[in-house]
Symmetry: C2
Subunit: 134 residues, 2 copies
């Protein structure tokens, strides 16, 4: 059952790029893979699961730093779910802040764009507004 995959196949399986898998290893997120005699990295199914875990956490926007913590919690049978939830909550707060910031930009910029004719004439409220002393 010990199916071992080279990095390219591990990449396909996990949805990460080989480049990133090497990067995660080198930055301490993953333990160093065993290698073939030729130096090729090899991944077993447990490691593939870890890679998937990372991909899914990345897709939720967690930083690699946070993912390191999440991985440690995941692998610790003694963890307290409190710790996991706290990480999630902090990240949610950041997401919420970013959304608010972007929505503010969206709102201001939409108003500006709406008041710009967007034709062949040079007059443009957007530039006028950006140029304002404020």
């Amino acid at each position: 059952m010990a199916t071992l995959l080279t990095i390219g196949d591990a990449a396909k399986e996990s949805g990460l790029s080989a480049k990133m898998i090497r990067h995660y290893e080198q930055s301490g997120l993953l333990r160093k893979s065993p290698r073939t005699d030729a130096g090729y990295r090899l991944y077993n199914s447990e490691q593939i699961n870890q890679l998937r875990f990372i991909r899914q956490a990345r897709s939720l926007g967690f930083s690699l730093h946070d993912i390191q913590s999440l991985l440690e919690l995941w692998q610790d049978p003694q963890r307290e779910s409190r710790a996991v939830k706290q990480l999630a909550q902090q990240h949610l707060n950041e997401i919420t802040s970013k959304i608010a910031e972007l929505q503010h930009m969206q709102q201001v910029l939409t108003a500006l764009a709406d008041s710009c004719r967007g034709d062949g004439s040079p007059h443009c409220h957007i530039l006028q507004q950006l140029a304002k002393p404020n």
Copy 2:
């Protein structure tokens, strides 16, 4: 009336950091400032206005690359407002995409966090979900 400011004062006036003003100059966004004999950069009111323009465009999330275009359009009396509006619209589209992406993360993560007790027990739906093969 030719009030000339050193970079620190220009920074205060414009709301940018001195560091960034130098950076904008070095990356071609701003023409090179005149200097005192000692090599200090000097800014006149027209350049202060340019700095404010940059700050305000940055606060709307425009990239420096886009801001370069915006500055050129601003300074071109022959511009067509069409070009400005197009830049704004493209940027708005990016903002909208990012908001959607973040909202998706927010939604998924909120659901996960809600289903995690967040107490002293190890059981945690968040980790369970991240670990899923998917």
